[in-house]
């Protein structure tokens, strides 16, 4: 009865690897961006915020199409990767990671930014009077205080990348074991009228997404008084 083909399992493995790697990279990249956005009074704050949020507004196929053009042999990114000896990014796993970084960026940066903003100046000033270096302050004061922001950022980036479809469709090329992720596999099943296999994967994804959100609310309960 339970009928997942080796192809299905390969798609699941690939999707988890993509989402995991993307989440780790996004926390590393997103933290400094969010910190800067939360602290700066620069005139660049608004344009940078807008760029970071853009992937949330654009249809994924538009984002995917521009990435395809930019990373193609004639595009600026494509020329750069070729010059660096990395080859071209479309149709590779690395290409999917790069695309996912753009695609899920707002989901990492915004919770972090809001967490940093909510800390305010005072804890930082107190830490400074106790002779904590800025780096020390960040790791011993900011990180613990912004914990809910980090949990939200990680879970949302991971879940959002799992559900990524339009962008992958545009730049992935649907190659088994390399770029055929779960959402594309489900789409293929449904389009080919293989509804049974489609249901197994889609149902699994539904349950998974529900559990992810449940975990998120467990760590970051929405109502005061529900905090563990």
């Amino acid at each position: 009865m339970f009928s997942l083909s080796p192809d299905d399992w390969s798609a699941i493995r690939l999707t988890l690897a993509l989402a995991g790697l993307t989440t780790i990279l996004l926390l590393l990249i997103g933290t400094p961006i969010a910190w800067w956005l939360a602290r700066t009074a620069s005139a660049w704050k608004r344009p940078v915020s807008a760029v970071v949020t853009l992937p949330m507004v654009l249809p994924p196929t538009v984002l995917g199409f521009y990435l395809l053009v930019l990373m193609g042999p004639e595009g600026p990114v494509g020329r750069l990767t070729q010059a660096l000896g990395l080859g071209l990014l479309p149709f590779t796993f690395s290409g999917l990671v790069v695309a996912s970084l753009f695609y899920s960026l707002p989901f990492a940066v915004q919770p972090l930014q809001q967490a940093f903003e909510a800390i305010g100046e005072r804890p930082l000033e107190v830490a400074a009077t106790l002779r904590a270096s800025p780096l020390d302050t960040f790791f011993t004061v900011v990180l613990p205080l912004a914990r809910p922001g980090f949990v939200t950022a990680a879970v949302m980036s991971f879940a959002h990348t799992i559900g990524e479809f339009g962008v992958v469709l545009m730049i992935g090329g649907n190659i088994p074991d390399r770029t055929r992720v779960l959402s594309v596999q489900i789409y293929d099943h449904v389009e080919a009228l293989e509804f049974t296999q489609g249901h197994w994967l889609a149902g699994g994804l539904l349950v998974f997404s529900f559990c992810v959100l449940l975990v998120l609310y467990r760590f970051n309960p929405g109502q005061p008084g529900m905090r563990p």
């Binding site: 915020s49 071209l88 809001q114 205080l145 922001g149 090329g173 009228l193 959100l213 970051n220 109502q223």
Partner: protein, 310 residues
């Protein structure tokens, strides 16, 4: 967007005295709220009455419209589902049909597979102009289309195309050389042109060598994009995509794959049952199908590089 989220978070923090608590949590609910429906301003009574007044006018004008339409019984509107690869020729054919018959044609474009699911779910299409011959036949067998109404309106021609000059030769020898990183084709499970591409590779005995270089697109439009942007050097697309109005190749290099190398891509149209429900007769839809076989239509179809039964 950021402002929206801040608006939400701020609103949330008025409920909760914990400022730090409002950090990461507010986002999820605001993200969700923001994607499913935008936050509404508090309902104002003035706005409410204004709206219902407008609705009243809309309702009465709709009634007039319906009365007016009842007067002209002859001009029907026909809903047609059209395979995406036939978009351009169908627009031309429908425009001419509207002019000569007085009927209105509403065209929807999409993949044949999606239309199949939608028609089975009761979508109100009266005619399906498909990209294959299996789907119309299946719909007939399953009772969703009128038995015996399907016919081949066009025969798709497969080409191997590169956006660059002098890459594709006129014998397809490029497939046997290793001068390319990627060969794009439409998903063979879903698209007839993709399946024909795989068949061609197998007929040439080049499949095993080329298989690791294949990148699949969702449909032939996306296959075209992969090749046009240069991400895939070569790809199997439809002749109709690469020839211009004058019948010549628009750009790059092309090999028109000999028809003996793959199973003919027959594109069928069929009259659906759905349009007939509610006592509406199918005369208009039948007239459109007949027009699809007219000399005018067949000239348009041929000008886009499709073959036809003689």
């Amino acid at each position: 967007m950021n402002k929206l989220i801040k608006f939400f978070t701020r609103r949330r923090s008025t409920f909760s005295p914990l400022t730090r608590g409002g950090t990461g949590r507010g986002l999820l609910s605001s993200l969700n709220g923001e994607t499913s429906q935008p936050p509404r301003p508090p309902a104002s009574t003035k706005l409410g009455t204004g709206l219902s007044g407008g609705r009243r006018i809309a309702v009465s004008s709709a009634t007039f419209l319906m009365l007016g339409m009842a007067g002209i019984a002859q001009a029907d509107e026909i809903s047609v589902a059209v395979a995406a690869n036939f978009t351009e020729p169908m627009k031309k054919i429908a425009a001419e049909f509207e002019k000569t018959s007085g009927h209105k044609v509403a065209l929807s474009f999409g993949s044949t597979g999606k239309f199949y699911s939608q028609i089975k779910a009761g979508a109100p299409f009266e005619v399906l102009v498909a990209a294959d011959d299996e789907t119309p036949l299946k719909l007939e067998q399953e009772g969703a289309a009128v038995k015996g109404s399907h016919f081949t309106y066009a025969i798709g021609k497969l080409v191997l195309w590169s956006a660059k000059e002098a890459v594709v030769d006129d014998k397809g020898e490029v497939l046997k050389k290793s001068g390319f990183d990627h060969l794009a084709l439409a998903n063979p499970k879903l698209a007839p042109y993709g399946a024909a591409g795989i068949e061609t590779l197998k007929s040439l005995g080049a499949y095993d060598a080329v298989a690791p270089k294949i990148v699949q697109a969702e449909n032939i439009a996306q296959t075209y994009q992969f090749v046009a942007t240069g991400n895939a050097l070569i790809g199997f697309v439809a002749l109709s995509q690469v020839i211009g109005e004058d019948g010549k190749v628009k750009s790059g290099s092309v090999w028109i794959v000999p028809e003996k190398l793959y199973t003919q891509i027959r594109q069928d149209a069929v009259l659906l049952q759905n349009g007939a429900s509610g006592g509406k007769d199918k005369a208009a839809a039948q007239a459109l199908l007949k027009f699809l076989k007219s000399p005018f239509a067949s000239k348009v179809i041929a000008s886009y590089g499709y073959g036809q039964d003689k």
